[in-house]
């Protein structure tokens, strides 16, 4: 691949991306684009982020050789990039720190955000507490039920959590409400979007803030193995941990990039969240991207056991990487993810987030087809404490 320079000035990755937002938001979106361009070129901005990432978040995170999982899979050597060890327990804080510092530079002290699993909400609430910013989080009513502990966490951190009852009452609807709120409060509020989606510059900005994952991985892997890994694997809802993991490897075409979507009850059923595998291009939440939709262009509700993957779209860059063939997108069902959740807990003493369990599940299958001399790095995007209750209930239901 030649030098990869996407997106273009309009925020397009091929046909995907763009800025499909109401006129009310255009001023804010253009200002954000401008502010981010300036900040990106300012070494003091990056230094400020790096300072917080190292002193507050606890980076760099380890690149851990999962000996027992490797032995179990019986093939390629599996490494885990331990984003679960970040402060707040997931990769989401990498982006929250970057955007909150940018909001401060823009003179905005009020933050609105959406959350699915609650990981982005907790990361945002945390950073707002740290930087003394007002914080309001929209979360689907269904997700509030599934992730009660994270709701309490956000409130403890001083955020206001607003329950969203419209539509499927999950992540998609939380984004709708956060966008509506932003339209009404755009002059003094920054929308701290949690994934590589939404209008430009969010997809590129979130990717850049998350690229610390891939950059560290590349360096750490080289230090341990003296080469590049043959494959990297990450789960995909909106796609932020995958984008951050993939981007530093994108021009290293010898590294295969695998994104893992949620197949829910199966991609041949109506209950999944596999936008890239089963969707088609369309426009939602400010960007042209792959979407789960019916023949009339109405968005279909996504289904996944994992609240963080329960989204009917996927970031524009992933949509482009799918079409271009640079990345390969697979899917893992709820029950496969549950198996991997238990497997990693037992084999490595690491309870993964259900989101990350999708990546683990696929990596085990992939490793079995690869040689022992080859290497896979899996982005373990978050810890599973938040999911323990939901998994317990599900297992008890299945046994009953």
């Amino acid at each position: 691949m030649n030098s990869y320079t996407l997106p273009n000035d309009k925020g397009q990755f091929g046909i995907y991306g763009g800025r499909f937002v109401p006129e009310t938001l255009m001023k804010a979106v253009l200002e954000l684009d401008e502010a981010y361009k300036i900040a990106k070129e300012d070494p003091s901005f990056q230094a400020e982020i790096d300072g917080y990432l190292s002193e507050y978040v606890g980076r760099e995170t380890p690149l851990y050789f999962a000996k027992n999982l490797t032995k179990y899979a019986g093939g390629a050597q599996i490494y885990l990039k331990r984003e679960d060890l970040n402060h707040t327990g997931a990769h989401k804080i990498n982006n929250a720190i970057g955007q909150a510092l940018l909001a401060l530079r823009m003179g905005k002290r009020k933050i609105v955000a959406e959350t699915g699993a609650g990981q982005h909400g907790v990361a945002t609430a945390t950073v707002c507490a740290l930087l003394n910013l007002d914080c309001i989080i929209f979360m689907g009513e269904e997700d509030i039920k599934r992730q009660a502990l994270n709701v309490f966490r956000m409130e403890l951190l001083g955020a206001k959590v607003v329950s969203v009852t419209s539509g499927s009452a999950t992540l998609k609807d939380a984004v709708n409400e956060a966008l509506r709120y932003w339209v009404e409060h755009v002059e003094d509020t920054h929308y701290l979007l949690g994934s590589v989606m939404g209008p430009h510059p969010f997809p590129v900005m979130v990717r850049d803030f998350q690229s610390v994952i891939g950059k560290e991985t590349k360096k750490q892997f080289f230090e341990q193995e003296g080469k590049l890994p043959e494959a990297v694997v990450a789960c995909i809802g909106g796609g932020s941990n995958a984008a951050g993991m993939f981007f530093p490897f994108i021009e290293d075409k010898e590294v295969s990039l695998y994104g893992v979507e949620a197949a829910g009850q199966g991609t041949d059923t109506d209950f999944h969240a596999a936008s890239l595998t089963k969707g088609k291009p369309g426009v939602l939440h400010g960007a042209l991207m792959y979407l789960l939709q019916d023949d009339d262009g109405q968005i279909i509700e996504a289904h996944s056991i994992s609240a963080g993957l329960d989204y009917p779209g996927v970031g524009p860059e992933h949509s482009y990487l799918k079409d271009s063939g640079r990345a390969n997108y697979q899917s893992i069902t709820d029950s496969e993810a549950l198996d991997a959740f238990g497997l990693l807990s037992k084999l490595e003493g690491i309870i993964p987030a259900l989101e990350s369990a999708h990546a683990i599940s696929f990596a085990v299958k992939l490793a079995a087809q690869m040689k022992e001399t080859e290497h896979i790095v899996v982005c373990l995007s978050g810890r599973g404490d938040k999911d323990v209750m939901a998994v317990k209930e599900r297992l008890e239901r299945e046994r009953a």
Binding site: F20, E23, T24, S166, G167, E184, V283, I299
Partner: protein, 261 residues
């Protein structure tokens, strides 16, 4: 000159202002669409904005969201709306403008959409999630089909941008009079009036105020500073309640005998 331009020209000659009701197609069933459009024409609508329901209407408040949900539950599709509008055109002579989010159009196929709505007698199209930065996606197709793209300006649009946006169209300029989404508001602040004056100054095409307009007093407050108003949530609400007398009385606010001018 298309139907939209003709309507505004005629109003201007009579020194009157436009009253543009918004309805959600398929709310109450698509089979009542033609009758509803006829009624609104009879009650003095200048032009009718026909909403296409969408699963994720981010620019709309609760009233229109609910109307959209009801419509989708009735099985409404864009294809069905276009078919019904074709029939309605035989009895309705005022301009019809479709208001739809982009994805139903994208899914339908942009050039087929433009041709089909033109054949159905639709005069214009409002796409709330299509800022001018992105209109290359379909502006040419709409123009070739003779469909006017109705653009929006808002309180957050800088003056130069309002100039740019208003210079692109021939129909009218949809001027969003609230910081926010659609829905009823109790009052406007002076900022809105100042904003309308500013837009009126720079716009070469008629300036129509919309979003948050639901009372006679609001309409009287705003119309001296613009060429007309769009009323959405209030109309949707009256139609949903089947309050036809209320609708007639509300829509008479800008009739000549009651006109403030």
């Amino acid at each position: 000159m298309n139907r939209i331009e003709q309507s505004f020209k005629a109003l201007h000659e009579q020194d009157r202002k436009a009253f543009i009701p918004y309805i959600m197609a398929g709310d109450g069933g698509l089979n009542i669409l033609t009758e509803t459009l006829s009624t609104l024409e009879k009650f003095g609508a200048t032009l009718i904005e026909v909403g296409v329901p969408f699963s994720d209407p981010v620019a709309d408040g609760p009233t229109i969201q609910q109307a959209g949900i009801r419509s989708l539950q009735n099985g409404t599709t864009l294809r069905g709306i276009i078919a019904e509008l074709t029939k309605a055109r035989e009895v309705v002579s005022i301009p019809i403008v479709l208001m739809t989010y982009l994805n139903p159009i994208y899914s339908y196929g942009i050039s087929t959409f433009a041709q089909d709505i033109a054949k159905a007698g639709v005069d214009g199209c409002i796409i709330p999630d299509l800022p001018i930065e992105e209109e290359d996606l379909l502006a040419a197709e709409l123009e070739n089909a003779g469909i006017e793209l109705i653009r929006l300006v808002t309180l957050t649009s800088p003056r130069e941008r309002i100039k740019e946006i208003s210079s692109r169209g021939k129909g009218f300029l949809y001027t969003v009079t609230v910081k926010g989404i659609t829905g009823t508001r109790t009052e406007f602040d002076q900022e809105v009036v100042e904003f309308l004056k500013k837009v009126k100054e720079v716009s070469p095409i008629p300036v129509v105020a919309g979003f948050g307009i639901s009372t006679e007093s609001q309409i009287k407050e705003l119309t001296p500073h613009c060429d007309g108003v769009i009323v959405g949530s209030k109309i949707v609400d009256l139609l949903n309640k089947k309050d036809i007398h209320g609708l007639e009385s509300f829509m008479s606010v800008l009739k000549p005998e009651k006109n403030i001018r």
